[in-house]
Symmetry: C2
């Protein structure tokens, strides 16, 4: 694990790292913010389409609230880099910058596009081994909101709480999701369901902490790509606790995220504070 | 004045604009944040080398504190764009992205590089005419910190207060300043002094509000380019009220700015609140 650069921020440390992943077979980058003093837990942030490890850490304005809540944050990149797989760089919503937090099984992508396992087997453990921090929660935006819901619902024992900004909540039913899931998992829709938050709820996956979602009402992707109402219906049907806040007039940007990131950090902080049995 | 895009942020409006400037004879861009509700004043933000109208508004995390203080902010670009003057695009510290907030007199640049007058005659008036806001203060970073000190000290009647992050405080004595002042004003050093904060203090320019400066101790540009101690000495000599905060361990980046921008906003807010005679 190599420290590339760091910047003192709100008394703590914003840093950028690289390491070699056995899951992706590539060098991967991630960013961290570590406050000073005792640390109560770590939030994993998953970014959306086209993002790198930099977007959240430079644009969300989260370090102030993280310092106050005594939480660290780790923001991984959104896909492997430095490869040249067939079609990998052809579009914004598939391949580089668009790993969708799945383990690919299609021949071209199965060897490297293993972002689900990268998060569980590379990123998650290093929070403890490299930073000495125990309690972990997960949140993300858009494609990363999808990732946070899927990782969290499939591994509730690993994550204290889950939250999302404008997540792709029902990917198997929308264009972004169908393109990515076909490309990474093939045409058999049955294989997609393990990476679809609504379908996971229907299968009985759940989390004991209420799931917090913020969604801008002026988000251009809301009606066709995000399907937040499907998530609400699925959650109600299985009694998964949740809070969905429709934020009037907000869009899909980091200006929206910055406006509500403090609320998400406080949400996760309350579950970090509870003693684990 | 053309509204290019806007994003709801902390209940207010982050927007990007373009307009044609008579001073620069070009189309110029600027960004604004306007909070909801009554507005007590406007801060002009001047960015540093290589920046555009975007850097501060996306990276500083200032909208939260601006909303709370009921202040708007306007962030202009750092130079004219779309020209191809001799040497204009050859380096990071002169020409495009590096207007240095002066009115050029050298033949190649005199027609367009008039950022000092652009701020006074184009930006300053539109705060009143387009946004209906009266009280104005000024702050900036690095080259923009220099700009804020110079604009503020030369026009104390126009600005309620002045602040700066890591300003180029004594430009006529450092490499960045000498290159820019030579290129825009020619070799006669006498002409430079009107654009040098330390020299302006020595000439008797002053401001009734204390000038707030934050400076990171790990800023790589501190010893050779910024000369904050020269500013302190000049201010002490003429009894210009000032507060210089050396922030231990911080560098020259927006991580540093974001850590202390709330303090600057609160500084300006207190002078906005005072009634003007």
């Amino acid at each position: 694990m190599k420290r590339l650069k760091s910047h003192k921020t709100f008394g703590g440390d914003t840093a950028f790292w690289s390491h070699v992943s056995e899951e992706t077979q590539t060098e991967m980058k991630f960013a961290t913010f570590v406050p000073t003093g005792p640390i109560k837990g770590c939030i994993i942030w998953l970014s959306g389409l086209t993002c790198t490890e930099e977007n959240f850490i430079t644009k969300a304005g989260a370090q102030r609230a993280l310092s106050r809540a005594q939480l660290m944050l780790i923001a991984p990149d959104t896909s492997p880099r430095g490869l040249n797989l067939p079609g990998e760089h052809a579009s914004d919503d598939f391949g580089s910058g668009a790993g969708f937090y799945v383990d690919a099984t299609t021949p071209d992508y199965a060897g490297n596009y293993r972002m689900y396992s990268y998060l569980l087997n590379d990123i998650y453990p290093l929070i403890g081994t490299q930073f000495g921090v125990e309690n972990v929660s997960i949140m993300g935006h858009s494609m990363g909101g999808h990732g946070a819901l899927v990782l969290g619902l499939r591994n509730p024992q690993l994550f204290r709480s889950i939250s999302a900004f404008s997540p792709i909540a029902h990917p198997s039913t929308v264009a972004w999701g169908q393109k990515a899931l076909t490309g990474y998992l093939g045409a058999d829709r049955q294989a997609w369901l393990a990476y679809d938050a609504c379908e996971l709820l229907k299968m009985g996956k759940s989390h004991e902490a209420p799931i917090l979602i913020h969604q801008g009402t002026e988000d251009p992707f809301l009606p066709m790509q995000l399907k937040i109402e499907d998530f609400r219906e699925a959650a109600l049907a299985v009694r998964q606790k949740h809070t969905i806040v429709y934020a009037e007039g907000y869009d899909h940007s980091y200006y929206f995220i910055s406006s509500f990131v403090d609320a998400h950090i406080e949400h996760h902080a309350q579950f970090m504070a509870m003693a684990r049995n």
